[in-house]
């Protein structure tokens, strides 16, 4: 910081504290920030309640975001990490593929199950045709939380413990696979249903 610069700032400071006249000073564009800061400091020191304190961090955040990796970015900028890459062994094709951070199947399954909570069933009404649709009392729920929730076992047999653990993992895997399969099948099903509605819709759109 140069001497001249700090002298100027003293002037600014003086102005804001009401100790100088505006016509004594010439402001340049690059002093805008300093200007704002003194104005804010002045307000804080004088504790003006009607003035909202506003600190501008937008520039910093924007700068940060610039360097963040981008996922599934459909811009043509191929230099960007993790953006759509149009790679193909034959070279010059134009097929979209998203550069996923490829998780193992295991992790994908765990993620699809992790959102689920296990519901205690002892409160469910017995099921037969007559109770169909009856109001169900409040359920006890236990979050799965990435691992299969289960009552703590006091088994002293490590082998038995391992077998149980293995079974739990199998169950969790299966449920994860079912959830994902259901999603996929439901999507494909829309295909069949939409075709039936195609005519009605196109008639509507042409209006």
């Amino acid at each position: 910081m140069t001497k001249a610069h700090s002298t100027e700032k003293e002037h600014l400071s003086a102005l804001f504290d009401g100790e100088a006249q505006l016509n004594d000073l010439k402001f340049t564009e690059h002093e805008r920030e300093t200007f704002e800061r003194y104005a804010l400091l002045g307000d804080v020191v004088r504790a003006k309640p009607e003035q909202d304190i506003f600190i501008d961090i937008a520039d910093k955040v924007a700068a940060q975001l610039e360097s963040e990796p981008v996922y599934g970015d459909f811009s043509a900028n191929k230099t960007q990490q993790n953006s759509v890459d149009t790679s193909n062994k034959t070279g010059d094709s134009n097929v979209v593929s998203i550069n996923w951070k490829k998780p193992l199947g295991q992790i994908a399954i765990a993620a699809s199950v992790a959102m689920f909570a296990i519901v205690g069933l002892q409160t469910l009404p017995g099921s037969n045709e007559s109770t169909q649709g009856e109001a169900v009392p409040m359920f006890q729920t236990t979050p799965v939380g990435g691992g299969f929730a289960s009552p703590v076992s006091y088994s002293t047999e490590p082998a038995l413990e391992n077998a149980k653990q293995g079974l739990r993992e199998l169950q969790q895997q299966r449920i994860g696979a079912l959830v994902l399969e259901h999603q996929r099948q439901a999507r494909i099903a829309t295909q069949a249903q939409v075709v039936d509605n195609e005519d009605t819709q196109s008639a509507k759109d042409s209006n």
């Binding site: 599934g72 134009n94 469910l124 979050p143 696979a177 079912l178 994902l180």
Partner: protein, 315 residues
């Protein structure tokens, strides 16, 4: 107030405000579908399931007669869904990308609401609810109420001005919200986003073959499904992810889909398990010598009844 309003409307030309009051819930829903298909917008919404939350970005555009849509899940490994006219491509971390022919994305909002709500009339009533303020805009509630109490109701709040969906929720028969979706911001623009246009010029996978007309496997008897659910398909196939074999049945009532899987038992003498995530229920029932799993956006008691009604066919 109402009398005055009516009186005034007799005296003067009826303004659009009164016209809206006369519109039926169904018309408003049709307007919503129209808006979504015709507008250029960039929206963000959040889906809340219990204490889990999923943020999405949803963009749509019309470019030289081509409809472009992109839905992106912003947390975790993510999910990208891209629609160009009637071709929808799903990018997911655990499976290769695949395309299907469909006029709307099968995302968190039931896709039937974007094309043909008439198909719901048999099973649901459309009821005009109250007005409120959602996402800083005036909103009109429409309740899609199930005609029987074995299913959830779907409530949807539409922007009074643009008819765009601002909020939606699965509501159980006790009137409690089990899963909800809320727009946090939306920007309409004259032109579609440049990224959408660039995206549309890429090549996507060839759509999967048209699913065959549903035929009943006949391997199992599914004794009970809620009224209004029809069999969409049934087959025997290996699951994508863990390659387990399953006899598979898919039912739909137009709004929600329910899958029934019948598989070899993992172990004997296990208790049935129910899991929920928002409106989605997974119910695993251990029958004699086979496991039945029911997955779908239905109440637990309904999933339980379906699962327990599955039997081997009587010879």
């Amino acid at each position: 107030m109402r009398t005055i309003a009516l009186f005034l409307s007799l005296l003067f030309v009826v303004t659009p405000v009164y016209a809206i009051e006369d519109e039926s819930a169904k018309t408003l829903l049709e307007n919503m579908a129209h808006t979504v298909h015709q507008s250029n917008f960039d929206a963000s919404f959040v889906v809340v399931k219990g204490n889990a939350m999923e943020p999405y970005r949803w963009r749509h555009g019309q470019h030289q007669g081509t409809e472009l849509e992109h839905l992106s899940l912003l947390n975790g490994a993510g999910l990208e869904i891209i629609r160009i006219n009637d071709k929808v491509t799903y990018f997911e971390p655990q499976t290769p990308a695949y395309s299907i022919n469909a006029r709307s994305i099968a995302g968190p909002i039931p896709d039937v609401l974007f094309h043909n709500i008439n198909s719901l009339e048999g099973n649901y009533n459309f009821i005009l609810g109250g007005k409120g303020r959602i996402a800083g805009r005036s909103a009109q509630l429409i309740r899609i109420e199930s005609k029987d109490n074995s299913k959830y109701n779907y409530w949807i709040w539409l922007d009074s001005q643009s008819s765009l969906v601002l909020k939606a929720a699965y509501v159980n028969q006790q009137g409690e919200i089990v899963e909800q979706l809320q727009l946090t911001n939306v920007t309409f623009s004259e032109q579609p986003a440049l990224e959408l246009i660039e995206m549309s010029q890429k090549e996507f996978p060839t759509p999967l073959p048209q699913p065959e007309a549903s035929t009943d496997l006949g391997n199992w008897q599914i004794g009970w499904v809620p009224a209004g659910f029809n069999l969409v398909k049934s087959d025997r196939h290996n699951l994508n992810l863990n390659n387990e074999l399953a006899d598979y049945y898919l039912f739909s009532d137009g709004l929600v889909e329910v899958s029934v899987f019948i598989q070899r038992p993992l172990s004997n003498n296990r208790r049935s398990t129910a899991l929920t995530s928002g409106a989605t229920t997974v119910f695993v029932h251990n029958a004699q010598g086979f496991d039945v799993s029911v997955v779908g956006n239905i109440p637990i008691s309904t999933a339980k009844s379906i699962a327990e009604s599955v039997q081997r066919p009587s010879p």
